[in-house]
């Protein structure tokens, strides 16, 4: 087994754009669930909307700033569509409606009737030009050891992680303010907050929009190193983001970032070790496809164990962050 390569790949995951995208999506989900108590089981939809609303205008020739604004605007509209019927209802209705809406948007982008816009099941590609064009890094390969990338890969990483830092600062600023106090109050008991003269519905909507907006930006980062594939936006994606958020701690600033890093490093390590063991014959009865599936079985089990035994996550404060409902 090539341990150097296995660890190299795993370490590389720490700063990979995928890790950044998941961290960003988990930060958004943290605003929803960790701080405001909204059960959003449709975060994948926000990533999907970010991805398509960025890729479609770009392919139509729009400049990058227009494409990004379009992605954000679409996610805001989607948040309103989700929120208007459900934010007045009991929390579990939001859970079911968000998960249902996420599937609806996935069905819509996959339908063959919209092939000209969305590419249907084949998705979209060829939208990286505008982003690569504003890359200030001269062509070439930079870095050392496992962190050796070309100028485009570095550019994606730099932009991705800068956005993660900005999002963290934004959430920190919001949550230390009286605004954050109101949404945390809503998480605890919205009737009490309502009785104190706060427009609970409006705050929940604001939180939904902010978290969803962060999700749509995560969607853009997610597709920059790859193509847009509708199959990537299943509920599985949402549940991975939940796992990441709960791993780090739902209502913490660094939790989603560290959670995402741990998640991807562990996934990469298990894949490397399993593949290595299969190649060396130690696990010869498995195929590499099955090895990939074992990782997801582990994700499921990890999610269960985490929620049962350490609901506050790695960084969470036990008292503040255990579940309230």
């Amino acid at each position: 087994m090539d341990w150097g390569n296995i660890f190299g790949n795993a370490v590389g995951e720490i700063i990979s754009p995928t890790t950044a995208a998941y961290a960003l999506a988990a930060i958004g989900l943290g605003v929803h669930f960790g701080y405001t108590g909204l059960l959003n089981f449709g975060q994948a939809a926000f990533l999907l909307i970010g991805a398509y609303a960025f890729a479609i205008p770009t392919l139509a020739g729009a400049p990058i700033i227009v494409a990004v604004l379009c992605a954000i605007a679409c996610s805001v509209i989607f948040a309103f569509i989700l929120g208007i019927p459900t934010l007045r209802l009991r929390a579990d209705y939001l859970a079911i409606v968000t998960i249902a809406s996420a599937e609806v948007v996935r069905f819509i982008v996959t339908t063959t009737g919209l092939t000209d816009f969305t590419g249907a099941a084949n998705g979209l590609s060829g939208f990286k030009g505008t982003f690569a064009a504003i890359n200030p890094i001269p062509a070439g390969t930079y870095g050392f050891g496992p962190f050796t990338y070309n100028e485009y890969d570095w550019w994606v990483r730099i932009v991705g992680w800068t956005l993660v830092v900005l999002a963290s600062v934004l959430v920190w600023l919001l949550m230390r303010s009286p605004w954050g106090r109101v949404v945390k109050g809503i998480r605890e008991d919205e009737d009490a907050v309502r009785s104190l003269g706060k427009n609970v519905y409006s705050y929940k909507m604001q939180a939904l929009v902010i978290g969803g907006g962060l999700g749509s930006i995560a969607g853009i980062i997610f597709i920059l190193p790859r193509a847009v594939q509708p199959a990537n936006y299943t509920t599985g994606l949402t549940f991975f983001i939940w796992t990441i958020m709960l791993l780090g701690g739902a209502a913490t600033i660094f939790g989603p970032i560290i959670g995402s890093m741990i998640f991807w490093v562990v996934l990469s390590l298990t894949q490397g070790i399993l593949y290595g063991a299969i190649e060396s014959g130690a696990l010869g009865f498995l195929s590499t496809t099955q090895a990939g599936q074992i990782r997801f079985i582990l994700v499921g089990v990890a999610l269960m164990l985490l929620v049962i035994f350490r609901p506050q996550g790695i960084f969470g404060n036990k008292k503040e962050l255990s579940f309230s409902v």
């Binding site: 409606v97 998960i99 579940f323 409902v325």
Partner: protein, 446 residues
């Protein structure tokens, strides 16, 4: 002391989780053994079990409505002059083994289709496969057929046809959704792993009926019994300890999501990603006036109705059924009046497991068996339960039929690949107008 108990509980919970997984592994490992022996029995499945042998293939099933199309020719062409032709067999299956995870073009020869069958969209005889799609070793491409028959039947006939299909599908959903609503009513849990209970039944039936080659009715009985056992184990190994531990509802809901992910990928691990055909001889078509229907569908509708009536009688007439409704209404009051709430919950889990398994078997007859089939209908079940009003068994039935009808009837107006989306949109719209669901009670606040 307290810490000691905590740790003790923790260890027990972990062992239980492991036990659940070990059990699933055991069950499905058995399936692996069975599928290995299957190659020696004369079962006409030429499809390579690619996930085991690590070959790459592109394939699919060609069907015109409920009829499987035999003898159609499909060409797969790729880089380096690769080109191979596959012919669909008597189960409508075709498959081409390809050399690498690359780009391919898949073309259906319309001339090779039997008389009276044509492509729904004549321009769509070609599909493409792109290199980055190869996340599993098997990719499927489908060619929607059937415009010929559609044009000859009038709107009313189509409507009737869809109406019957929708009723059938709705009844199937109802079988599983009643389990969801009973579990929600008695324990407050939104069980996201319910879809995996449905898949479990389908896989058991497939193993018994197709792989072992036994009678489908025997397979159904075995699936229902094992489904009940599966439900019992769910409660005994996981949910009861968690209730004892005082795990909150949202926490429990996320645990069920974790369980669903673990189970689903376990199924994938052992049965592979391709869909399995349940060709057990119930696909003869019967023509009833304007409606064409398979014997399997008639059987499944009749059985669903009988079972649903029995469940209704159980809930309203028997002592246990009444106790179940009492626990749903108010668990602490029920406990105070001498009802053993834990026993009722156990019974509800067994019942839900059996019903879900039965739904799984019939879904397998109606469609095919695949590792994520339960998850695909989970949302429709949730939609049905929410539409009917969370926690109400009759509501679940009504909601299921509404969802079933909507899924099928919507195909008269919108592309069939959006039919699930239509049902979910209805859910959202109903919640806008009538938040408590169709039959739900308004809640008293404060």
């Amino acid at each position: 002391m307290i810490a000691g108990i905590r740790i003790g509980r923790g260890v027990r919970l972990i062992t239980m989780l492991m036990a659940v997984l070990a059990l699933c592994l055991g069950v499905v490992l058995g399936s692996g053994a069975l599928s290995a022996s299957a190659s020696t029995t004369p079962v006409p499945t030429p499809t390579p079990t690619s996930d085991f042998t690590n070959t790459l293939s592109i394939g699919g099933i060609l069907r015109d409505g409920d009829t499987l199309v035999e003898g159609a020719e499909i060409t797969v062409a790729g880089a380096g002059g690769f080109s191979e032709v596959a012919t669909t067999d008597d189960t409508g299956r075709w498959s081409v083994v390809v050399p690498e995870k690359g780009d391919y073009t898949v073309t259906l020869d319309p001339e090779s289709l039997p008389d009276g069958v044509a492509l729904r969209d004549p321009d769509k005889s070609e599909a493409s496969v792109s290199a980055d799609e190869w996340q599993t070793n098997t990719l499927t491409r489908s060619f929607p057929l059937g415009e010929d028959t559609r044009q000859t039947t009038g709107f009313f006939e189509q409507f009737l046809q869809r109406l019957v299909a929708g009723l059938n599908f709705g009844l199937l959903i109802a079988l599983a959704a009643i389990g969801i609503t009973l579990i929600f009513g008695t324990t407050g849990l939104n069980n996201f792993a319910h879809g995996e209970m449905v898949t479990f039944g389908a896989i058991v039936a497939w193993l018994v009926a197709v792989i072992a080659g036994l009678n489908i009715f025997l397979a159904m009985v075995i699936a229902v019994v094992l489904g009940g056992v599966f439900g019992y184990l769910n409660d005994w190994l996981l949910w009861k300890p968690l209730r004892r531990k005082g795990v909150k509802l949202v926490q429990a809901m996320i645990v069920s999501i974790g369980l669903a992910i673990a189970l689903r990928y376990l199924y994938l691990f052992f049965i592979g990603g391709e869909t399995k055909n349940m060709n057990v001889g119930l696909s003869d078509t019967v023509v009833l006036g304007p409606v064409r229907i398979t014997t399997g569908s008639i059987f499944s509708m009749a059985l669903s109705i009988v079972v649903l009536v029995l469940v209704g009688l159980f809930l309203t007439r028997t002592r246990i059924g009444k106790a179940t409704r009492a626990v749903s209404d108010n668990p602490s009051l029920a406990a105070a009046s001498g009802i053993d709430v834990d026993r009722i919950i156990r019974i509800v889990w067994v019942l839900s497991g059996s019903l879900a398994a039965l739904a799984g078997v019939m879904l397998a007859l109606y469609r095919q068996v695949s590792w994520d089939m339960g998850f695909q209908v989970l949302l429709l079940m949730f939609a049905a339960v929410t539409l009917g009003g969370l926690g109400s068994a009759y509501g679940a039935l009504v909601g299921s039929i509404v969802v079933g009808l909507f899924v099928e009837l919507s195909t008269l107006f919108i592309p069939p690949d959006l039919k699930y989306a239509a049902a979910l949109v209805v859910l959202i719209v109903v919640l806008l107008v009538r938040p408590q669901g169709i039959l739900g009670r308004k809640e008293r606040i404060g």
